[in-house]
Symmetry: C2
Subunit: 236 residues, 2 copies
Amino acid sequence: MCVHASLRPRIPVWNADIVTTPPPGLRERKKKATREALREAALRLAMERGPDQVRVEDIAEAAGVSPRTYNNYFASREQAIVSAVTADREARIAAAVAARPAGARLADVVTEAVVEQYTNTGEREHAALLLIITRTALRDAFLDATAGIEHPLAAVIAECLDDAGTYTARVLAAGVAAAVRIALEGWLQPAGNEGAAGSFGGGGLVVPSGSLPDQLRAALAPLSPAFDAAERRTRP
Amino acid sequence: MCVHASLRPRIPVWNADIVTTPPPGLRERKKKATREALREAALRLAMERGPDQVRVEDIAEAAGVSPRTYNNYFASREQAIVSAVTADREARIAAAVAARPAGARLADVVTEAVVEQYTNTGEREHAALLLIITRTALRDAFLDATAGIEHPLAAVIAECLDDAGTYTARVLAAGVAAAVRIALEGWLQPAGNEGAAGSFGGGGLVVPSGSLPDQLRAALAPLSPAFDAAERRTRP
DNA sequence: ACGCAAACTTGCGTGCACGCACATTTCCTG
DNA sequence: CAGGAAATGTGCGTGCACGCAAGTTTGCGT
């Protein structure tokens, strides 16, 4: 009946990783569990009965909390549904960048990390995506979720660049987030756009429409010189 | 009683600029007027009685439209208030870039255009800013509004670069928008932030806290190499 | 000048986001 | 281990965002 049943055994849930991180505490584990329960409930219900047939009340009930509590975790229904797909991608990208092979070009490392995390998509996530693109609100929330990479990525880039005082790392990370969003926009669009880019130049046919990895690489490529320059600044 | 009173004389409102642009049409002028009336009403009321004492109903009434119509123009109350300050900045920045002196470095032109448009702020806008920063919701809406530069800027950059098929212009424009947002974030913060950037490196004291132009230049600087590379691609 | 088609406005209804105040739980310290 | 400080969950109330289905205005072709 209660979502938190799985963490009831108080005694030895975590055996060996206390040494690395200070004990997470009951509170934080509960919070994490509640958040995940809400995510899963939102996505499951949306896939079962269609996105428009799911009310906040249903999600909260399925997760075993009050509707008001649901709202303490997610600012919108779309955010809850989408986060079931996008959660942790940020952390995994940041981790992949942090674990780079010492001498590698930062631009390449970031690009590969992004491509990797957006390519290795499970069956469940793929099905969820098909659902997401059917509703504009969900599509927008999905695209907005890319902004979530910004902060963790800025942290690791700042470390790589040994740069903790300037805007460089933050701007580069934000640029990556924006590029990913643009690549996804292009990928999700079949055709039929009008004045997107060419406002008064010749005709502006945009959107090459290739595979997702290609789109991501193409969108990230223009940022490479900025990464190279930043890296050069660190080790001349 | 009606906001559109100023355009009542149907006969000769526009004398000499028909040659340059196709006649705007009554419809579009009315729309523009309504939007502007809503903006002004929102800001004026917010400054008169404080941001929290203004309801959508009040704004709509002051602009002479129904509350439902207000909602066809702005998706949130914050957006309406903030847009009174940020409106047209996008267009002016884009215009300034489009009118660049033939051989100038694109990165410099964009930087100067941005700095110029964020520096020459009138007395009224300054007062509005003081109001905006007092409410988190307004502050966020103000920062989000920087994303509005993206599309017009992408258009002019694409023209400068003679590039209408790739993501380059769009990514650069989005990078600029993100950098401006970050600069504004840093400028609006006095101090007191915690783990913004240095997640596990040493202590991460960020935010140099200088003047706005300095912040903008500092945030845009890391993107210059990307602009240079893109320009080099166009004219080798 | 007429009239149709498309765009815009508006009233209504529904579900939602969120502030506030209070009950409950977790954490920490003596 | 007691007890208080701090964080979290919850009910309630308010204003809001937005879909829908008329009613109204604008634009355009004939």
